[in-house]
């Protein structure tokens, strides 16, 4: 009986339903995009390596309140790395970071990229995997061997046909042997190509490539023994380095320890809030759709006053009339909700593809949005249904 009434005003019904369709699909698209972003962040966190802390040098200018990280290279030393590794119980591995830029040449191919120098633990700390060949060893680090491990992007550009491992390439006019290729990691959160990099022992960069008299370490990467240990590790490293750098109590640190797990958690929390925000904005459109439903139901009650009168005269109780109108609005909303779910899934896949985000359709969001649309039907259908049910049969019958 409810379906009968919906069939009669097809355009009106379709337009009303459109409100719900838009509302539901907006909720699904927004929540899906938000959760996609969340997943992206999670992937990125996994990409940074597990339980990672980074230590950066930070010089103090005497006398001034101003402090900066512009000349950070003199602070951290190899001995610091060694000490952190050996003396801090919460630390599993520690690796120095030294960076350089260079042009990579093989035959007539060339490619400019950055080079990260570290020790044999770096691969594990940062959660990298090898695609081909091997990473450099402790021995390579000790002897400052002229070996290089290429990121996927460099390998692809220098060796379009593959077979990079074992080849000799030139970087800054010195020959290096390619001993391995890294497994790809893709883009970072800020859109950088993480595979456009190369790795070699930090000693090689310091001694062979840059020829530094005073070895510089820009950064130290550390992995804690567990996720829970990242906090203690940060404290322990801080006190160890203060002691080693002879910083008196009350004096500021000349280094900074970043707990990447904290950063990751903060980023995840941010995206979660974003998701909720987007979802609730979208929910407002569902609310607007619901008001549309209420409007059409009120019009429908007025239009069908006489019919309601007839039904009452031949013995329909008010409750039956109420159920009929309520069923009508719920059906309207549920059909709209279903179309909205399909549309929303399509929309979120489409946007994800367009923006190059990981497409992630949240089944919970779809389910909740659908149930919410049914709830909208009940909530906004109740008043018109109640109005219909409380009509006076005599007046309703007289209505023209």
């Amino acid at each position: 009986m409810a379906l009968h009434a919906l069939g009669k005003n097809k355009v009106q019904t379709a337009l009303t339903m459109l409100g719900i369709v838009i509302g539901v699909s907006a909720v699904i698209a927004m929540v899906s995009l938000g959760q996609g972003a969340q997943k992206l962040v999670q992937d990125q966190v996994a990409g940074m390596g597990q339980n990672v802390l980074q230590i950066q040098g930070q010089n103090q200018w005497a006398g001034g309140g101003a402090r900066g990280a512009s000349d950070q290279s003199q602070v951290l030393t190899e001995a610091d790395v060694e000490a952190i590794h050996k003396e801090v119980p919460a630390v599993a591995k520690a690796a120095p970071n030294v960076q350089a830029q260079g042009q990579f040449v093989f035959g007539n191919q060339n490619w400019s990229s950055r080079i990260q120098g570290s020790n044999e633990h770096y691969l594990e700390i940062r959660g990298w995997k090898m695609a081909e060949g091997d990473f450099y060893t402790e021995n390579d680090v000790r002897t400052a061997a002229r070996v290089v491990v290429l990121g996927k992007t460099i390998a692809d550009n220098l060796f379009p046909g593959g077979d990079a491992v074992g080849q000799m390439i030139r970087i800054r006019n010195l020959p290096y042997r390619v001993i391995g290729v890294l497994a790809p990691k893709g883009q970072s959160a800020n859109g950088q190509d993480q595979d456009d990099t190369a790795m070699m022992p930090y000693t090689t960069i310091q001694k062979k490539m840059l020829g530094q008299a005073l070895p510089r370490i820009q950064q130290i990467s550390v992995s804690a023994i567990s996720a829970e240990a990242t906090g203690p590790a940060k404290d322990q490293i801080t006190s160890l380095l203060r002691e080693r750098h002879q910083i008196r109590p009350g004096q500021a640190d000349d280094f900074r320890v970043n707990n990447l797990t904290e950063v990751a958690e903060a980023a995840e929390a941010t995206t979660q809030v974003m998701t909720m925000l987007l979802g609730s904005i979208a929910a407002v459109s569902l609310l607007v759709g619901g008001i549309g439903i209420m409007n059409i139901m009120l019009v429908s009650v007025t239009e069908r006053t006489r019919e309601i009168g007839i039904r009452m005269a031949i013995g329909s109780r008010g409750s039956y009339i109420r159920m009929q109108f309520l069923a009508e609005s719920v059906i309207l909303c549920m059909v709209g909700g279903l179309i909205g779910v399909l549309f929303g899934v399509g929309l979120s896949l489409g946007i994800a593809r367009l923006m190059g985000w990981p497409s992630y359709v949240s089944p919970q969001a779809a389910g909740i949005a659908f149930l919410f649309s049914a709830g909208t039907g009940i909530f906004f259908g109740y008043y018109p249904a109640h109005k219909a049910a409380s009509l006076d049969p005599i007046e309703a019958l007289r209505y023209e």
Binding site: H4, M312, A313, G315, G318
Partner: protein, 248 residues
């Protein structure tokens, strides 16, 4: 034809109905008493505003009297709740209206089924009974037709079938021929007479037209909220026609 030994189907005792619209009070019924026994066929006449519509609404359990009592088929209606009155209408009263009042966009047979739907009858049974009711008014071929595909006479016959669906105690017909031409009106009145003669259906008929009233067996005439006249109709009752011609 009235049989005094049978209990009255309708029993109105000193019924008053007062409508209040703001400051104005309208005394629509001023102490009406009426008894209708099973198998009676009553024509209710009177000018508009005479109280006959008010009385029809009361008899039809659409409204309650301000004072006085109304016993329908042995049950006191004057104290019933809204839902009880809805159930009573469903079980005991078959309505036939001037404008047919079929549910639009709903097939004839579904219209006839509707009272049985509200009575909670199983689909198979009510479809069966609706078909029989359609056949009894000679419309078995039009079951699937929508109201707007039927002529006025056919629509009124569907309405009659619907009124009969739950085997009511009385049929209340409010100007059932008012929207029909005289030939079709005659056909509809023949069905009413048939129902009264063969099935002893109690019928209360409101009409303006003396020709139509002549089909009934008893005449109740209203004026100013009171019963002016209550008498049997004889077959060669030209006084009725005369009365109508001199003005209502």
């Amino acid at each position: 034809m009235t049989d005094a030994s049978r209990a009255p189907v309708i029993s109105l005792k000193d019924v008053h109905k007062i409508y209040r619209t703001g400051e104005i009070e309208v005394h629509a019924l001023r102490g009406v008493s009426l008894e209708v026994r099973k198998g009676e066929f009553i024509a209710v006449m009177g000018p508009s505003g005479s109280g006959k519509s008010t009385m029809m609404n009361l008899i039809g359990c659409l409204d309650r009297p301000t004072s006085g009592s109304y016993i329908l088929d042995g049950v006191d209606v004057s104290t019933m709740s809204k839902n009880q009155r809805a159930d009573t209408r469903n079980a005991k009263i078959g309505f036939v209206f001037q404008s047919f009042n079929l549910i639009p966009r709903t097939s004839a047979v579904e219209n006839v089924e509707l009272p049985m739907v509200y009575a909670g009858m199983a689909p198979a049974e009510r479809r069966e009974r609706a078909r029989k009711a359609m056949a009894s008014v000679g419309l078995e071929a039009k079951e699937r037709s929508l109201p707007n595909q039927l002529s006025g006479g056919q629509q009124q016959r569907v309405a009659l079938a619907r009124a009969l669906a739950n085997n009511p105690a009385i049929i209340l017909a409010d100007e059932p021929t008012g929207a029909l031409d005289s030939k079709t009106a005659d056909e509809i009145m023949r069905i009413f007479r048939q129902l009264n003669d063969e099935r002893h259906m109690t019928i209360v008929l409101v009409t303006h037209e003396p020709d139509i009233a002549l089909h009934a067996k008893r005449l109740v005439r209203f004026r100013d909220g009171e019963i002016l006249e209550d008498r049997p109709i004889k077959h060669e009752d030209d006084e009725l026609v005369l009365h109508a011609q001199t003005g209502m």
